[in-house]
Amino acid sequence: MFAYVIRRLLISVVVLFFATIFVFVLVAKSGNPLALLNANPHIPHATVVARENLLHLNDPLWQRYWIWLSGAIHGNLGTSINGQDVASEAMSHLFVTLRMVIVATVIAIFVAIFMGVLAAVRQGKVTDHAITVTNFVLLATPIFVLGLALKEFVAIPINQHLNTTIFYTDGEQSPTLSGSFLSRLPAYAEHPALPAITLILISYASWAIYQRSSMIETLDADHVRLARAKGLSQRRVLFRHVLRNALIPVTTVVALDFAAVLGGAIITEIVFGWQGLGQWYLNGVLTLDTNVMLAYLLITATFVILFNLLADILYGVLDPRIRYA
């Protein structure tokens, strides 16, 4: 097991290395970061040349890659077009995004397991149909549509009706936030409510569908029939013999879905005006800010690889039948 984890870790590093090459070429080919500067007639040519040299734009691609990579290994992701340090900017945006994503994912997992189990146990009955239909409708709703609909038709009417701001629809924190951490805590909890609900509803649906089919499959297994034949109570059969096994595939699906959740976070941040990592990345893409794009893709690729690794390890821990060669 230990040797397996070490080997997977090494493979992950190799995959990450190749991913950085892939990403670097992709970003380098996406356009000239100085196009705007070039188009401006008031900026002297010497300035443009100076910026070109600063960004190493005239060096061959592999050399630029090497400069970037050796910086990245030491935690230096370069500077953005505005001259900001990309690494520290990325960290503060990452915090904003993770605040939303972690809360949403944890809640979505519990809701998905509960709904999936409920639907499976009541298979073919009204509860099952209601849950399944809801899940499919949610699955068919693009995240920006859900976010906009929640904002316009749920949050704003409720706020107007009650004449106070229950749901914050714009921004990740109040502009006039001051005072101690404890006095700011309610504001920290209120702002993520709506974006988190959006993310929860979207990710929950596919996990619940998965949990349901995994439950149904396990309910049919021989060991469950044996447990029933032994005369165990329904509750004991369900929790000790079915749910424990049915959770295994779902665990890995959740870990593997992390890339999709990060993608969803981009859209959620844009809809709700959060200054998170996704919004930052989109701005970077639109302004052709090479280092910002690279930083985002590097960070997300690292996260995805880590979660893939986690999925593989969890699979082995949860299911002892899996042997590592």
Binding site: P142, V145, E217, I266, I322, Y324
Partner: protein, 333 residues
């Protein structure tokens, strides 16, 4: 990577991706059903011998939800074409009615520059279906080819191709799509280009499914038999193995159609997808979002059609999955 154990109808077998293992079960069930029923005519009980294709089709047609999905999708497709040709307004027509609520002349109202929203929404549906079908065809073609080659030849070809798939899967699809479409939207506003970039990021899943299927299929007796008869590799792959893997491929192609509509509408919402004057549902949602509570018809109709369109495809996909593999969803005794 640990080698997968023998393929079984178990979801929990290997630390490989769950879905790839599931794919093994698809084929086994599909082939089993075909063998069992095509020989059933010996006793003259079933009347006519049915091909496996007919059996699957029959199962598909007996699912209410899937049929609702098919009907909705076909209806939307036909309606979008008919409206595009015969409706009194084209989606580019500018009328004198600005921001009119729905009425008999403009069933979905008009927008702030006087476009008829009914024509716009239906043009959006047409564009979405066009793009989605192109993406699905392209992704399936690439994915099946890569997966079949990797699974059939194994060895270093397999390692190389699958490592590349791993590499593509490491990056969040949406982030890469944003990057590519931002460049594309500056250079042209051709929807084929948009379909192309969504397509080149959507084939990895099919490739994995087909590879997993092929790894188990290549060890089967009928493959060995046709090899003994002197069939070429190409013939074995195309004539003997692919038909046995067709179930998961079709199901996945359907899901790709739905997902590419999600991607396309998301990009259009961000202003990076379909560019005006062309319309797509995502673009219409983007244009209507600011007036969602005042001129509700600008927002509600595109949203409703977008959800119904994607939902109908999901229902078809789910029905196909059950038709190809009824064992997985049987009601427990």
């Amino acid at each position: 990577m640990p080698e997968p154990a023998a393929q079984e109808n178990f979801v929990i077998q290997t630390p490989e991706r769950v879905a790839t293992v599931e794919a093994g079960a698809h084929t086994l069930a599909g082939v089993g059903a075909g063998v069992e029923l095509s020989g059933g005519d010996v006793h003259g009980l079933s009347g006519e011998a049915k091909s496996q294709f007919q059996i699957v089709l029959n199962r598909f047609f007996h699912q209410r939800l899937a049929m609702i999905g098919v009907a909705t999708f076909v209806l939307l497709g036909i309606a979008s074409i008919v409206v595009g040709h015969f409706w009194q307004y084209s989606y580019t027509t500018i009328t004198n009615n600005l921001n009119d609520p729905p009425s008999w002349t403009n069933p979905f109202g008009t927008n702030s520059i006087g476009n008829d929203m009914f024509a716009q929404v239906m043009a959006g549906v047409e564009k979405d279906i066009e793009i989605a079908l192109t993406v699905a065809a392209m992704a399936t073609l690439i994915g099946v080819t890569v997966g079949a080659i990797a699974g059939f030849y194994r060895g270093w070809v397999d390692t190389l191709l699958m490592r590349f798939v791993d590499l593509v899967l490491v990056l969040p699809v949406l982030a890469v799509l944003i990057l590519l479409s931002a460049k594309l939207s500056k250079e042209s506003n051709n929807w084929l280009g948009l379909a192309f970039i969504i397509g080149i990021l959507s084939w990895t899943y099919v490739a994995r499914l087909v590879r997993a299927d092929f790894l188990s299929l290549r060890e089967r007796d009928f493959v060995e038999a046709s090899r003994a008869l002197g069939a070429t590799n190409r013939r074995i792959i195309v004539k003997h193995m692919l038909p046995n893997a067709v179930g998961p491929i079709i199901v996945n192609a359907t899901l790709t159609v739905a997902l590419s509509i999600v991607f396309e509408s998301t990009l259009s919402f961000l202003g990076l997808g379909v560019q005006p004057p062309a319309v797509s549902l995502g673009l219409l949602v983007d244009q209507g979002q600011d007036s969602a509570t005042t001129e509700w018809w600008l927002f509600v109709f595109p949203v409703a059609f977008l959800i119904v369109l994607i939902l109908s495809i999901f229902l078809i996909g789910d029905g196909l999955r059950e038709a190809f593999d009824p064992k997985k969803s049987r009601v427990r005794a």
